[in-house]
Subunit: 458 residues, 2 copies
Amino acid sequence: MAPRTASLKKPNFIDMTTTRTIGIGILGFGTVGQGVWKHLTEKQSDLESRLGVKLDLRKAAVRDLKKKRGVKIAASKLTKNPLEVIEDPKVHVVCELIGGTTKARELTLRALSLGKVVVSANKALLCEHGPEIFAAVRKHGGQFLFEASVAGGIPIIKAIREGLVANRFDLIVGILNGTCNHILTRMGEDGLSFEDALKEAQTLGYAEADPTLDVDGIDAWHKASILAWLAHGKWAPAARTLVEGIRKIGPADIDFARRFGFALKHLAVIRRDFKAGWMTVGVYPALVPNRDILARVSGVNNGITLRGDVAGATTLTGRGAGGDATASAVIGDIVDAIAALTGAAPQGLSSEALATREKAGRALRMADLDEIVSPFYLRLSLLDKAGVSEGVYRIFSKHKVSIARVIQYEHPNQGRGTVTLSTYPVSERKMSAVLTELRRLKTVLEEPVILRIFSPES
Amino acid sequence: MAPRTASLKKPNFIDMTTTRTIGIGILGFGTVGQGVWKHLTEKQSDLESRLGVKLDLRKAAVRDLKKKRGVKIAASKLTKNPLEVIEDPKVHVVCELIGGTTKARELTLRALSLGKVVVSANKALLCEHGPEIFAAVRKHGGQFLFEASVAGGIPIIKAIREGLVANRFDLIVGILNGTCNHILTRMGEDGLSFEDALKEAQTLGYAEADPTLDVDGIDAWHKASILAWLAHGKWAPAARTLVEGIRKIGPADIDFARRFGFALKHLAVIRRDFKAGWMTVGVYPALVPNRDILARVSGVNNGITLRGDVAGATTLTGRGAGGDATASAVIGDIVDAIAALTGAAPQGLSSEALATREKAGRALRMADLDEIVSPFYLRLSLLDKAGVSEGVYRIFSKHKVSIARVIQYEHPNQGRGTVTLSTYPVSERKMSAVLTELRRLKTVLEEPVILRIFSPES
């Protein structure tokens, strides 16, 4: 079949004099597909004004038309035939979220042969058929974007490709598999056996019934190959890549690690020696020194350190998988693709985007002092005399500020003491009232020192 | 003066039918300016093939023509007149690296009035004159890019604007000032007083002779304002922003933090309540729970957590300042600007970029087993009998593998013991030879378990 050009007049560009609408189609409507649909719908008007185009969520190809879904979608937008999505001339961006490497390969190549943009979360496909896919991109002028294939919630592909483009990376090291990391965290911090930690991960939905791809390192290996290729241009041959899983880790290993200040992590390590002209790619469990920030990446999170010759070491951590984190990456790619298709200025900085941002800003007010709430820390210098503490604490109770922790220090022969304390969460307004009264006490000898205690929740 | 359009035929676009060369000019040739020049020169051919255009490093405006510089630059490329750089019709991208808000404002607006791209590291300028700058961008169709203004080595602007574009952020919290973080790290971990830690930071070049901008929170406040504006569209009024420095921190505060499991950090905190319609911006020292990854960002590093409604919490850490980290951000912006000017596909994925990447890959080989070196960890299950250890350790000495640490466990009544040990760095080839011989010993009862010990250095 001869490639059709549909409404794509020119490779890489849509003729924006005839169309101001970009059509989006989705193949595969599982957790990620539904997440993409949901969040695109919710943020459609914001994204449209950022990009200066209309978005048309046209179609989703599913396996079962009648299945109940958690996301609202008109029945007319569902189809069982993925080609109906791909070949729709009004679909410019195709999200391949079905997984696997057979059907997915076929559909991806078909879409690329039409010069379309394919946004993919499919690491296995990219790993196994990368050269073929990019040959199709080069031949037909489409795009293949894959931020979602590695560490969903972390824009790592973009960081390597764009933000840190000035750098050559001699070391890329990461925790790329959330399942392994969850299991190792539970084993290392809570003493679970591998079997129990795996069972728990399966119950929590962090591991598949057949956990092979995760715990034997295959998933991490796919991701490591993609990062190595992106950074260095070479697909590491499987035979030259060390791929180990975590099944062999036992209590003695955990014990050794803990005693000598290491955390056990499943790592992907990509090194390059620019002088000698080689690279290595390996994924394996390793002992990571506790001082390394990756030792602190726990649970299902992912984390990647990029060491560049210009920027030094940059580490990105966040959610590695899960429908929403992956959807976030897919949407980032869709927006990127559209910006490139329409020749927009860097996203968020076009005139439209600036106008939208200003509009959003006008609707926004600064919080009142009653609305800013946090736990506080306070240091008081007090006269060393009976009854002083009572006078201080009376002010806290008057304003209903609860105290969480106290340390009182004596300063012999100085006639004064230091009290440090922390409170439960309280508003800036209340704390300020407490402070005003404290300042008035003759027994408070210096200006009190006040610090906020950071808590993500308040 | 009427704005000239120079060779910029159309806002946001260069007519690439007449030019395949992008001219770059630099205003201010201090550490950052020289870093940009140096790294752009070194990576010119790589960047050119990624972008499919020639780069012309045209001119740098300096204060003193005769000053000795660490970077090679032809005398003919230096000028004392910044307008000579800006008004050169062959300069498309102007890097404003002089700092300050008077001259820098004037020059930035002049370049923008010509429809040019301005790449800036100037946080104060953006903060104080943001609306005026972006009005000029909108009027004349240029670009103003500012990745370098916040956390140089960390592509945080791009993460908010592009990678995580699907997200609304209810919390952005970061360590944005490396000087404060260095001082607080030394006070908290090593018991230095504020004065001594500041003096040390000044000696190391991490703090200015007049440290006010850093230690009183002004620098972090500028950066926080930029992040808040980028994420929420509103410039936080100074009068409604809490700005505190770290001068007041004393030993009792450090002691309290340590006893109750906190680290003392100078934080920028931007919260938004989407229901109530408010935001808060504050920069102040705070107690951060040790379990929070920001508590682990130490020394001159920066770290920022973005909490989005789709991707969850993503944290980026790395070098915040310094000539090279900032240069990395400036170059990232230059490349972005050129990609937008020429309408290229997402960077690094254009046909040219793919070809370059493939070419680089062909020149690259996988490392030999002799070249992959790391410390190893080994677990052996040994027959519990006199002389067994000697036989094991003989193999290590034969291959000149030094042992760093050992723990031996007994398993009473099982007739076997477990030995766990770590080695000094050794090649995969040597370790593999050791392993082969160990397997042959009758006293080694199970397949040995081998793990690598991660070290950034090897």
